[in-house]
Structures are given as structure tokens and as C-alpha cells.
Symmetry: C2
Subunit: 395 residues, 2 copies
């Protein structure tokens, strides 16, 4: 009696979540200290102290009926205005409150954008490797998932293949930079090339191809890397943002969607997305945490711990003989499996209590994702396990 | 370029929200004190002090990575266990953590239930008058909305018509008691009759017809009225609950879905609903406010204010000559329009700065909804306006 769409999903439940359960099982068997779970993207750096201070201050000062009550489906107007001003200061954009819709995290942001643009049969392009939940979001609205295969040298989009896969059914393309799972950041040069294709093809097929920029990792960058602000390059861009990583609040479900004035039919689109926010069941982003954001506009979590983790784990892995690109952002290492079947590799790793995510689920088989948003001491303790694992393949 | 489904919605944007904007406009023109906005179901009684105390206590004591981090998509297990125990104590049920999925309010609860059971073309029955958002939720999954017309005497379901409208495509029926917009509570006797029909028809058509009980107003009852706990009468029941009204936290988006063990394929259904919670974009109910709930299990807002409002407004309305049933629950009065076209009546009311919701949008034309979740003083101040409005029709 379960709907057909959900039946398939129940059958193929998310690999990442399965790993999560598996990790808990191993911890029970061998003790928490002896299991090295690198499978989940759950932040290990705590939220800035300012978050707690802001919550308490707000509770002390604001009327509870207002604070915990309904507001416009797009969120508190003063909160949106302050976020818009902060984005404008940082990126030289020109947004105001009306261009922002506060959302229940980036996941619901993506859903309300897709619901507002997809008709059944429309195609949405993804660049492998990519977060497999996009598939579910697209299918929620009977869209078709189109995959552009990974460029295994740079892990930047394969633009020639992209160009060839665009057709009259193409409605949007999703980018995610800094990228989950590779940590790669798309350069300004690449964005410009991508935009050129989008503009040419949009005019060729006679309707805009939207660029959906999923940016939960925008602030998680290392070595001074720069993440271009995509609305400045292409007018038909939706920005989907979340405070999950920049403020370490993934459980609180707080983010926003930006619809620039320059986007075609912008006002109507803003209304559609606001209604979608209501009718998919979110109604509005959680109210108290919305009001916390203006207190935290110019702060973010301490990146040092992730950066230290990144350097140490990269060093361990490459010294062991594993192949991986040094990530510029996010908190993942994208590692080539020493054998073609990376699921088999993950099974072997489990012998040493090492948990990774096999990247078949990111449309990039032969690779694994190793999340380094973990306590630094766990990485230190895991070194021996990595060496033993390497021995199975390299020595 | 907006999707067809959303295009229609943009065109016919929610009447309630329009009223909300209209109210703000009138307030600007005539001053807040001189506008009597009875259109919105936004609680006017503040959240219990315990909510604030609990938030501060939790912030002081819990690790921020845990508190604000991801958890299982169904919510924190300890929170669900405590809620289950509390429901069991109150209603003699037998739930445990696994039967509860924490949700982003009741709206997302309804969505994840409907997503998990509806195939395109399946029918869902609603008893008029009912909250029109149900239509959007059902259509999100390409379900067909079937309406059983209102019983204008009792505003309880019209069971004969219900029986006749069930067919092999019928997947579910939604009930909402205490009811928005009538304030009516379905008696045990009525629930038993309804269940008898569901059982007979389910076995006739060869598959279960689910009963979806939307219960955000469960605790808002007056004069000692009793709201039967529906899972005790019918095994294929989903309970959809929200703390929006009982704790005055509608903006925080916190509620749950209950899937009893007795429901057919219960375990698979729990998994489907949990996955649906993830993929519609909620991922999980907001984490901090989840952890607040165990501190507030045995408390609720002070009902006296609503009750006092109910009595005064009922007195004013009936003294003026308006016809309405005395509500047993929720915070609405369901008033018969003195003229058949209730939208015209609402326009006339606006002349006196009185704002109601015309109930065509609740599938019950000829009636208006007057929400009394407003400051008591506003009701007192509005008396004169009601008398003037009555004069237009009765004297």
C-alpha cells in the first residue's frame, strides 16, 4: 500500500544513512575509540558562541507570540533585509528582502526551486560526482535526471559533454561548489565558460536554462581560495544556501533561496517559490533560529580544525599510496579506490573499522568519500588502520 | 517558465494570506487599534514560560555539535521515546519511539504521509468544511481531492455521502477534530460509525483506506470536551500532530506523525515516511526545539484566554443576530453569512474594519471563519463594529 515512488526508495535506502547505522553497530562492538567513521557530513566544529548568546538575548527581549509565531511564508522581512545587505557587502550584489526566501535548510530550498520550475519530463543536468539526493529532489516533481560524467583529472564539469546533453527539455543545471564530494571549487574562468554555454543554448532552445547553485559549503574554503558569486555572471541563477556548515547548525534547518531581480519573470518566480515553501509542508523556516541569523552575519565557525584535519588526512592517505585530489573547500577527501569496485574496497576498509562512502552513489564509481569533519584525535588514531588497509593493496 | 502546477497556484494565491496583507494595509491607514483582524490562526496566547526555560537549560548543558547537528531523519530517539510514553499515559496507547517521526509541523507531517501512500489518480476524501491547504498537499502527489459536502446542522461528517463516494481509487480520508474552521469535535459515537464504514469498504475494495487524523487543535478544548484518540478505534490510522497551538509555537515548525504497529505493513510504512521526511527537503524536525518538547510534555498554554474570547465573541455575534454554532474546540467561530455570497459579506465587513475568512475556500460557501486567537481587548473594541455590520442586514 506504499506509493510506487516510495516503494523503490524504501528498497534502495540511502547508502550514507546505512553507513551511519553500521557505524553505530561497530561502535557498540569495538568501542567508540576504535571505530573510524568517516562516512557522515555532520559538522564536528561547534557552532560559534554567538549563536547561543543570540538565542538567549532574543528569548529575553522578544515577545514570544511574535518570536514563535507565524510570519510571511518567505520569512521575517527584517531578517531577510539584513541578510541581503550582508551578501551585498560581501559580493557586490544588489539584493533586498524580497529576493530572499528563508528555507528549512538547503534541501527544502532545492525542493521549492525545482517544484517551481519543473514540469513532468523536464530534464535537470548534474555534473558527476554529485550529491545523490538531487536525484530524489528532481524525481519529486517527475523531472528527469541527466548526468554529465566526471572529468577524472580535474573534477570540474565536462563542458563538451554538458553542451551535447542540453536539449529542448533541459530546464536547469545544478552546481555545487565547493563540491560535495570532491572539495573542488569552480574557478571564475570555468563559471564564465559554463555561462557562455547556458546563454547560447538558452537562446537556441528558446527558453532559459536555470543555473541552481547549491552553496552550503561557500564559507568552508582553505588557502584563501575564492568562490565566485554566480548571480554576477548569469541572470537566471537561483542561489540555494544553508547555515548548516558555516554556523554548524545542520539540525536546525535554516537557509535561504535567492531569486535575483534579473531572473526572467522574477516577481512571479518569487511568489511561486514562496507558495511552494508553504505547500510542500515547510510553511516557513523555523522562527527563533531565523532571528538568530542577523546576529551572526559576519561570523562563521573556526575553520582551523577542518583545515588541520584536511592536511593531516591528506598526508596520511598520500603517504600510504592512495590517490586523491587536495580539496580547496568543504570537508571531504575524494579518494580513488585501489580496485575498480569501490564497494569491495569499503568492505575491506571496514575490517580495520574504517568507514567511507562508496561513490557509486555520487555517480562516480571507483572512488570513495572520506569526510574529515571528525575529531582531530580520531584522524590521529586512525593512521595505523589506514596503513594496514594500504598494505592490502600496495605493498 | 514557472511549472504548470505552480502557475495555477500563483494565480489563485491563498485567500487567508491575502487577508493577512489586507489587514496590514488597513492597519497602516486607520491605526492598529481600529482594525479588527479575525482572519489568521496565529496564536495570541504566549508559549508557556517552560519553553524559554527549557531552551536556556538545554543550551547550557548540551554539546552544541549534538544539539544543533544531524540526527536520524525521524528525530532524536530519546525525544520520541518520551513523547510516546506521554501519549501512552494520556490515552492508554502502546507506542514507542519507532512509531513516531518528528516533523516540521503538521503541514510536513501531512505531506510525508500523503507522499508515502498516494499514487497518481488515487483519491483522498475530505469532509467539508476543511482547511483548503489539504487540496495542495494531495495535489503535490497527483492525488484527486474528493469532497463530502457539509452537514449544515451539525457540521459533523455526512456519513451516507461518504459511503457513496468511496471507490476502488479511494486511498485515504482526512479528519481534523477539533475542527478548523468549525470548532466541532467528533464524538466517539461518530468515530465508531466512520470506522465501521472504513472497515467495510476497505474489505470490499480489497485494500485499506487510511484514516489521517490531523490534530493540531487536540488540546484546545472547552467545557471538558473529550477528543477520542483515533488509533484506538481503527488500526490503519496516521496521527499528524503539531505543537503549534498546544505550546503556541507555530513558527518553530515542530510536530510528529504516528504510525501504529497495527497499521498494515507498519515497519515498511515507517521507513517510507522517514525517507519522505528526508527527500521532501525537511531532512529532520528542527533539532533544538525537538529537545525542548520532553520538558513540556505535561503542560500546555493557558486556555482561559481563548475560552474567554470564545464566550464573549459568541455572545456578541448571537446578540447581533448572527447564526453560529458554539465551538467545543480550536479557536474559530464558524458564522453563517446573512447573504448567500459570503465574499460580499466579507467586503461589507471590511467597511467596519472587520476581517473574516470567506469559507468558499473551506469548501463551504455561505459561511465565514472568525478566528478568536486575538487579544481580548480587540474583541471588546470590535463590538460596536459588529453591531454596525449587523444593522446592514438585520434591523
Amino acid at each position: 500500500m506504499i506509493s510506487d515512488k516510495m516503494k523503490d526508495l524504501v528498497k534502495n535506502n540511502s547508502v550514507i544513512r546505512e553507513m551511519f547505522e553500521e557505524g553505530k553497530k561497530l561502535q557498540k562492538l569495538y568501542g567508540k575509540e576504535n571505530v573510524f567513521d568517516f562516512s557522515l557530513g555532520n559538522p564536528s566544529v561547534p557552532a560559534p558562541k554567538k549563536v547561543k548568546e543570540a538565542i538567549i538575548k532574543i528569548l529575553e527581549n522578544e515577545d514570544p507570540c511574535f518570536l514563535h509565531g507565524y510570519m510571511s511564508n518567505s520569512g521575517f522581512e527584517d531578517v531577510r533585509e539584513k541578510i541581503a545587505e550582508s551578501i551585498n557587502r560581501k559580493f557586490g550584489t544588489n539584493f533586498s528582502a524580497k529576493n530572499l526566501i528563508m528555507t528549512v535548510g538547503a534541501a527544502s530550498g532545492l525542493n521549492i526551486v525545482l517544484k517551481s520550475i519543473i514540469n513532468p519530463g523536464d530534464e535537470v543536468i548534474n555534473f558527476a560526482p554529485y550529491f545523490s539526493e538531487y536525484n530524489n529532489y528532481i524525481k519529486n516533481y517527475d523531472g528527469i535526471v541527466t548526468v554529465v560524467s566526471a572529468n577524472l583529472e580535474t573534477f570540474e564539469p565536462n563542458l563538451e559533454e554538458f553542451k551535447n546533453k542540453i536539449n529542448s527539455k533541459t530546464k536547469a543545471v545544478i552546481i555545487n561548489t565547493p563540491n560535495n564530494p570532491t572539495g573542488v571549487i569552480y574557478s571564475e574562468e570555468l563559471i564564465k565558460k559554463l555561462v557562455k554555454i547556458l546563454e547560447e543554448k538558452s537562446s537556441q532552445i528558446g527558453h532559459p536554462i536555470y543555473l541552481i547553485s547549491d552553496e552550503p559549503y561557500r564559507e568552508l574554503v582553505y588557502d584563501g581560495a575564492i568562490v565566485p558569486y554566480v548571480t554576477k555572471y548569469y541572470k537566471n541563477t537561483f542561489v540555494v544556501y544553508s547555515y548548516s556548515k558555516s554556523l554548524s547548525l545542520p539540525g536546525e534547518r535554516i537557509g535561504y533561496v535567492i531569486v535575483p531581480d534579473e531572473l526572467d519573470d522574477s516577481n512571479e518566480m518569487i511568489e511561486a517559490i514562496t507558495i511552494a515553501n508553504r505547500i510542500i509542508g515547510c510553511v516557513n523556516a523555523p522562527s527563533l533560529i531565523q532571528r538568530v541569523i542577523p546576529y551572526c552575519l559576519d561570523i562563521q565557525i573556526d575553520l582551523k580544525e577542518y583545515d588541520t584535519n584536511r592536511k593531516l588526512l591528506y598526508k596520511i592517505l598520500t603517504e600510504c599510496g592512495f590517490e586523491c585530489i587536495k580539496p580547496q573547500g568543504a570537508f571531504y577527501l575524494f579518494v580513488k579506490s585501489p580496485i575498480p569496485d569501490e564497494k569491495e574496497f569499503c568492505k575491506t576498509a571496514k575490517k580495520y573499522h574504517l568507514l567511507f562512502v562508496p561513490c557509486s552513489s555520487f555517480a562516480c564509481p571507483g572512488y570513495v568519500r572520506i569526510a574529515y569533519c571528525v575529531p582531530h584525535t580520531m584522524i590521529q588514531r586512525s593512521e595505523d588502520a589506514f596503513r594496514k588497509l594500504a598494505k592490502e593493496y600496495f605493498y
